[in-house]
Symmetry: D2
């Protein structure tokens, strides 16, 4: 059977994070060459973050290869040190390698352009679409997977859905410290040019081990796991939750919302200019429609929209294309009551607050972060002690313990930069009083009483 | 005057290559914020190379910031150590800083999507357009530059055109070892994940010095310059001339050519689906038309074209989107006479050789490489000896000397992978004989006698 | 005056951490060339840690240059952005540069071989000796410093003693986040080959600023400071407190103690073989005696002692030279009562517990770590908010807060590896019962009830 | 048999170059723990180079582990891809792994302190001593090796002596591109903090393959091999042949020579103060004597000698300890006739030219460099083409070809820095005329006619 044969010559892909991505199986190479995988080259990994960190323009394609590669290395390591033959209770079933690698490679295949925002407006769901791409007979991915066996696509999908019976395989792909997170932290750190995301992957890959209940880490690797958790925290604080990226995301959100409204008033313009988006503007799309989307398709529409007669649509399109983020200030619960006052001022100055302001908390972002209150069922990280017993990470590390319980959302009010005294130009001299008042409410980047 | 004032707070951009890009002048910040500069975020630096090196998806925007930053550092260093006040003969005029930095930042602003191929088909010229963007009153770039003085845009343009009177400024931006090349070698090496392009920038920035005839390097930095030259050679051999990238470039070339032909037969389809490309398909475009182009605009058209009724147009569009490069073999002058025989075989198997084969030499690529026979006027690299005399680099380094004279083009024949015995599938069993014959002409990747 | 002149050509030292160390002043170059500074090349920075991390064999010389370089960069940055001329209240007095750089370069000059252990046995004190070297007229360092002014040596010493009136200068050299710590964390991480110690120095050097009460950091750099604190914590946990290095340190301690005893019984042997150590064995040494010591002097004695007729002296000397560390287990207060039982077992097996066991807590090590209970006067890290007010770091960062209060000592019992069942050899079969009993008290590396 | 068993738990050593050194066999771990291997911790890898590159204080111990690790990786790779079972003609005999790894680990074990200089003065030979340590029954290394089989030590020694019958094993350890060179280039580059020595080890370890005549490299890795060769050339030019390190080496040479002379006149002083050196001063030493030497033993003697009554001995000792290198100028064959004139001037100024001058060419240094004229038997690097044929590297790479034939020695005259006008101080005003004349012979660092 072709699909269980190894490639006669291993193929490699040069990768800045893992040096080389090694492909040993014909199946994996064929999956990489499907059009659904190649499409990920055209979707940025970090969405609007590249507007803040100009180096981070990498796509979901490289990340998918990276998650696959980490999984491959773990499977190889498990096979050598912890096979089921050696340890019938906690060992690793070497037959699971193929399914684990496929699930790793395909786990993000359902992503579309600027997923988080897009999904909010158009009711798409990238996880659901991932499952569809894997299981729908019309895709190349499915056709490749089916060569293994008719059930194989469903099995791969079940790993991503966390319903696959072997918890080791599920947790390799999806848990608090999985191949996905390990790759994106390192990759995003590399491309942004920051060092916060770096942790000792080599060491973690030496202390990881299978267990009958999933994936665990040897006690002597506790500090490496700790360091990974801190790196993750830092990446969220400094990169993923960056106010400028969120200021661009708000613009994108408002732009797509406005487009939907304009479409419903006058659809013909879009039939000429944004044909690939119509199924979504209409609210009625197929998998085939979805697979035609990518960042360029959206941006091409924005280029066209920037000359649309609707002033809000064209203004927002230009702000997005030319990187004019909304500005923001943080606020806490005590200051919340002043928000209406501020939005009134913004309205007075002349901005339609429906499109030019937003309240956003960092939890709105598409990145999961350990938040115990909301995710009771989250898999914990367990450490494996010399005598075979397990201890939960936050019990062994007060550093992790400290991060675990106390994360609070960073809530921000977004508004046009024209409201800031420092950016004031002639256009707004009429509203000098309102702008002064607005600025008296800002101190150290935070909303305060006047 | 605002434009000669420094920013009250220096602004920085995190950069993976230079750690930080520092902006000290309001002028530079305003230029970065123009829509023409922001557009460079949507144009990949390396075109089709990211199909070979998946990590290299970075845009021309980051590179432009990098060239600016290297120039800024050199200007700062020159000011501290070699100002005209200290050395009236060879010194650096500190007043040139602003113009040098602007030229550095803007030197690539005329680039469009996949410039090399695009220019060949549509008769555009990115250097000419760079000058237009700088000097045409309709652009934001021009409006920002004009605030310095009415002549300033022309002066900046003249640096890029190499007609500016001060050779130091010209050579900083454009010579055998300039800020442009230094940035792209380091940047492309970083993003591809290879190490060939790395050289010791810090050391070079310590041995560079102004001279009345241009830019020279202190003798004690000879090995660093040598290392830069070798790195450059390695990057060309291994990255820029990679056969797979060129195999994708050929497809792009044939695709755009076919589109032009199909357009002339039936333009209405394109008016619906590729409105932004029409001025180019027509052969009649304005600067405004050009500035609406980016990678996404092209790719969006390809997505639509992949369903066009013309089988060649749709097939080539799919090959490009889904990364199906033409394969290739190298050949030398003695083997040249066999090319018609091979193309005949390809035609027999069923491929229209006008669209599915190509002869390409590496010199066709848009990267200049030291080739003395063709570029007699190329500025040489001069080393500055302790006693003030100059010596040309290749006279001091036989390593450089060796590279200088002997580069020969890597000529390749490109053809569909279906012609390779190893890729043979059922579709082509009818032509088993032709394919066998074709493959008997290949040995060690080279064209040979049967 | 020579000493306030800059060097005509800046001198640089290639450095793996800072790329280049830049020397601009004749004074600094002359200090580096003194014999007291050159002696630091012969004293390892990390003492016994290189027995655990073989890459970390670097000397205190490179570290001293590194601390100087960080200080130089900060002084340069302060001069450009925060000079007293610009900000008379919180600004930096540019005249302080020279004294700050001298103190930075010389802060460790009093260190001797394996200082921590050596000081414990021979009652030396490296900080006191640092002051002596700077202020004693017999040293080359003093002679160089005195050329600035007769009071200059005392002033430099007072910075190190923290009595210098300008708190900015004092805190640059010695505070919770000073040039010393910043250099050693990065340097030790580089040489050990771990990544735990890396933090974003460039960013910290962009957010550091002078304040009338010392050195503070801008609020927008909070996460970089946080990351530095976490890195520091990780370096202590993983590198500086490593049980194997401490197991070697215990051997060194016992060896020097035994040598002192043997010397007092029979001094003549040492007069022949360890002439440079005699003043210390005697307990009566001069600064000149001290300056003749280095790692090699100690090790040369150990080579000779390994053939001494005293079996304990020669055995310990061999264990140190040939890297045979004592093993260890951790214990907490509840388990403490069992220690006598364990040492009895060790004694029974045949080891003199005075020389072959030790109780060591990580706080015994010569690295200061934030421990508020013991160091009430420790300078806090203050963050500078946009409106000019300060906020103490642990109030802004709960991550730091978590580390701050909860560090507890890692207490360990050290003993010969011959006591471990897994290392048991024929020599100890007589004591099989005792060794078994000893091992029943160990679980997961910790002392437990039998 | 213990020695063919794998360790139950693989042991690792953290290494800055290879991340981890992996030890799988009890034999290797036992060899590392011998006192002869541990002694390498006390011998610097680069001798006097750390006086120029202060970061490069690493010992031969880490390098030995590194060579072992590269060899281990190659053996593992060969086993997986090219075992004799798969390819009976060119394949790798997996049984050779142990002997290859032992030879790799032990290849430098005979090195002593500052070998190159020491050997010249005392007629020792580190390669001969390496063989003795391996084969002499008195060493721990031999005792460990003999547990494999009585012949095993001789076999390991024969690999190092290049007489072992399997050329693959011999060339892994010793050829133009072997594990030894690959490790030291990367390691020395890392520790000096330069980038010249970096090349793509990962890629080389992917294109290396066994061949019936030795070790070859796949054609598609040609550029990686090329890059290695260029890196090696750069390391020699910039690091290993650095004039300052050679200026220190000359001092060491003269110091040891003077000590021998002084010893023969009055041996008693040395019996008191340099007991470990006496066998060498006498010219009559045993292996045991040799194994007591290390850098510290020499330096401790120098500390004592710096107070010796012989003025030349004490002056040279101080110059070495306090880093006062001789200065130098280069000269070519045409300028050679002026050397006596210059040394006469030096003599007139008051220096004994026997001790204070030297002629040194870079070929005197203990680093072999490809020099075909002198080393006809040097193994060539062969590239393996797709069809199985071999092509010699310099035929495929004109870059390598260029380096191969043209290296010429850098000949230098060394002399006291007091001879340079720029260093002139009051002491030598009497000889102003001679010094002026001396300096008129120097231009751009080279010897010229007056």
């Amino acid at each position: 059977m072709k699909y269980f044969e190894r490639l006669t010559t291993e193929r490699v892909f040069r990768d800045p994070i893992h040096n080389y991505v090694h492909v040993e199986d014909a199946l994996i190479l064929d999956l990489i060459n499907t059009k659904e995988m190649q499409r990920l080259r055209r979707i940025k990994q970090l969405g609007t973050s590249s507007f803040t960190f100009h180096g981070a323009e990498h796509s979901r394609f490289g990340h998918s290869l990276g998650v696959y590669e980490i999984t491959r290395r773990i499977c190889q390591y498990f096979k050598r040190h912890y096979s089921l033959a050696d340890d019938p209770v906690n060992g690793w079933d070497v037959e699971e390698k193929l399914i684990a690698q496929c699930a790793a490679l395909l786990h993000d295949i359902g992503h579309g352009p600027y997923s988080h925002t897009f999904e909010g407006i158009f009711n798409t769901d990238h996880e659901e679409i991932t499952v569809q791409i894997i299981t729908s007979k019309e895709t190349e991915v499915n056709q490749v997977l089916r060569k293994v066996s008719p059930e194989f696509p469903e099995q791969v999908a079940s790993v991503i859905q966390k319903t696959y019976p072997n918890p080791q395989v599920v947790q390799l792909i999806s848990s608090q410290i999985d191949a996905d997170r390990m790759d994106y932290l390192l990759r995003d750190a590399y491309y942004t040019g920051t060092e916060y995301g770096t942790f000792d992957l080599t060491r973690i890959l030496r202390v990881i081990r299978p267990h009958k209940e999933g994936i665990v880490f040897q006690m002597n690797g506790m500090h490496a796991v700790e360091d990974y958790i801190v790196s993750r925290y830092q990446m969220y604080m400094q990169i993923y939750f960056h106010p400028v990226s969120r200021g661009m995301e708000v613009i994108l959100d408002r732009l797509l919302k406005r487009a939907t409204e304009v479409y419903h008033d006058a659809p013909s313009y879009f039939e000429q200019n944004s044909i690939l988006l119509i199924p979504f503007l209409k609210g009625n799309f197929t998998l085939e429609d979805y697979l035609k989307l990518d960042d360029g398709v959206l941006l091409t529409s924005f280029i066209l929209w920037s000359e649309h007669s609707d002033p809000i649509l064209s203004d927002l399109a230009k702000r997005f294309l030319n990187r004019k983020p909304l500005k923001s200030i943080s606020f806490d619960d005590q200051a919340k009551h002043m928000l209406p006052l501020l939005t009134d001022l913004i309205e007075t100055v002349g901005f339609d607050t429906k499109y030019y302001t937003a309240i956003s908390s960092s939890f709105d972002l598409p990145y999961d972060f350990y938040a115990p209150a909301e995710n009771r069922h989250r898999t914990q990280i367990e450490l494996y002690q010399m005598d075979g017993s397990l201890i939960e990470l936050s019990k062994a590390s007060y550093l992790v313990n400290a991060i675990t319980g106390k994360i609070t959302g960073d809530k921000r009010l977004f508004f046009p930069k024209e409201m800031l005294a420092s950016h004031q130009s002639d256009t707004y001299t009429l509203f000098e009083e309102e702008i002064k008042r607005f600025n008296r409410h800002i101190k150290n980047g935070t909303l305060i009483e006047e």
